[in-house]
Amino acid sequence: MGETFKDFGQMLADIILYASTQNDAVNYFLYYSSIILTFSAAVGLIFLLILHPRIRKRERPEDKFMFWECVLVLILAGLDLFGSFAGFLPLDVMLFVVNYFSIVSEFLYMLAIMQWMVFVDYSLYHSKDHIRRCYKFAILPILVVMGFEIVQFITFHGPFEITDALITLVDVTKVLEIVVEYLFVLRAVQLVVSYRKETRQPRFLSLGAFIVPFIIGMLIRSYDAAMMAIGVLLTCVAASRRDWYLDRETNFYNRRFLQYLATYRDRNRYVGGNVILMKAPGRKEDMARILKESKPGGSSLVFMGDDTFLLLSESLRGSAVKMAVMVFTEAAEACDPPFTPAFETIKQGRNESAEAFVVRLTNEVENGVTPKGVTS
């Protein structure tokens, strides 16, 4: 029994360390299953790139991030598949090609994780300036590790003796790669945790969709490219849920989002909510533009249809409402031709659930209640 456990443990260690196990059946299974998984995931990524409307058009920054993420992982998957079939090459050429591609693959692997982390950050805060500032030098650790890889490559394939120091360098490089990868993942987790503390807005991200496959790929290195691709696919699916709640014309949230938000807030027991209802009959485009340009940072806008918009806020003093009304009215009066939107504030009652508030709000909008104008 002890021997069986020992053999099993050794096999697991071999799998994690990407070495051949003592068991041919396991080796064959890992080899062929990794090819099938990687191929399937690559096909999935190709379909995503061709068929997903947002990723295809790449109009929004998050769509661009996701596009490049898919391309990186697709190349990674392609290299992995090529490496799997490199057996037809002469042995010395095969070793050279496999080692060379492994450097490139490792580079792409770390780059893909970094790109995913950037995607998570942007999906939370939607700030391009922040991304530019924070991740200007994020590639440096990857380049340092790659430097080590290149030194190893040159040493292994050059006229140098393979010494213990070189073996140690190989081990150190592997550890550094894993550290860099985990640091990127931890950074993404930390971003989401901070976000949850700072704001009560829902997020349409699923970290688990990427992290779980990533960990599987780390444990079973034969699957790393496949799991990366699956992680990216699942992340994209999770993030795309947000598109269900967006109005295509204005890119504001739609009516469905109100219900989703109500459920989310009630589930998390968040209380307090206010809405500024704005009507701009016949001037939907102008009003949408004004709201995009002038909306308070971090607030959410909903387009209800019929030239009616909502500005959502957790708590709103009368003076804040007055200020918003004044700013939007000034902007509307500066348009050509000028117009005057109508405004009304609707407050969630102290003991009113978010669901009941949304029902009341929707009734007020649908029953064509004309906003009273500026509230005092």
């Binding site: 950050d121 805060y125 700030s127 300036d129 704001t199 940072g297 003093r317 804040a320 200020m323 000034e330």
Partner: protein
């Protein structure tokens, strides 16, 4: 004694009797003032200014803070303080308080006679000179280019930044922040953070009647709000070092936990100035 409620229309009549700053302050949304005149000579015998607080905050009781008080004699001063309770919006006020340095004995007696408590205490305001600020670590590093002085942004951008701040419930020391013009604040010392073409952070500094500068709003949006706050402070300290004399003072008011922690970190061990502090609780039964 004739008691007159002060307003923007009549305040200049009495301008010789209180600091000039109140001529502007009386126009503010939550500032109020009363003056008591002698019935025969119409000489000003007493005057008081107060500011309403938390009027829109459903989670806090409405209060009024006495900002300035003068009395020639305790009897008239006490009578004027009691007149505050006759102002119509006093229905909403649950607490009337003061925290004032350098009060004269007449004013102290008047406050006591009007029913206020009194205790000598360490004030909430901490002062630091420009020279002291220049020696802080935060003055050392370079300021990024997304921090701009207030004078470089338009009124529209300023309003947008203020709107972002108030939509997040951040009013700083200014209950009426949405109503204040950009011109109120020091154009060079005050600064903003511009990211993604929007004003997403503000540091607003105002010069007090004493000549000291006061930080009235310090706000920045996430992500990395704390870093941006630090950058704005760095900017302000650098500019102050160039434009102001080293002995000029900056007032930091510890009005909430966050500001108290910040001041504690910047100036460990520094204490507030001695003040006389007191309160008078108000219930509807106290109304005359």
């Amino acid at each position: 004694m004739i008691v007159t409620e002060l307003s923007a229309e009549n305040i200049r009549t009495y301008r010789d009797h209180f600091p000039a700053v109140f001529i502007d302050e009386i126009e503010r949304e939550y500032y109020r003032g009363l003056v008591g005149e002698d019935e025969s000579t119409h000489g000003v015998k007493t005057a008081v200014f107060w500011e309403l607080k938390n009027t829109e905050d459903d989670n806090a009781q409405t209060e009024a803070e006495i900002q300035w008080f003068f009395a020639e004699n305790a009897k008239d001063g006490a009578a004027l303080l009691k007149e505050i309770e006759l102002v119509p919006e006093f229905d909403e006020i649950r607490r009337l308080f003061y925290e004032l340095p350098d009060l004269g004995s007449v004013e102290k007696e008047a406050l006591a006679a009007a029913g206020f408590s009194a205790e000598e205490a360490e004030g909430r305001d901490v002062y630091a000179t420009i020279g002291e600020l220049s020696t802080l670590n935060l003055a050392i590093n370079k300021v990024p280019d997304y921090i701009k002085p207030l004078k470089e942004i338009s009124s529209q951008q300023f309003k947008s930044g203020v709107m972002t701040s108030v939509f997040h419930g951040r009013y700083g020391l200014l209950e009426d922040l949405p109503f204040l013009p950009m011109t109120r604040f020091e154009p060079e010392l005050s600064c903003c953070m511009i990211t993604d073409a929007h004003v997403n952070g503000l540091l607003l500094v105002d010069r007090q009647m004493s000549g000291d500068y006061r930080v009235e709003l310090l706000f920045a949006m996430q992500p990395e709000a704390n870093i941006h706050l630090l950058q704005m402070m760095r900017y302000a300290v650098r500019v102050a070092s160039k434009l102001c004399a080293p002995d000029e003072k900056v007032q930091f008011r510890r009005h909430n936990k966050a500001s108290a922690q910040l001041v504690g970190k910047l100036f460990p061990g520094k204490k507030g100035i001695p003040v006389l502090r007191g309160v008078k609780k108000c219930t509807q039964g106290d109304l005359l």
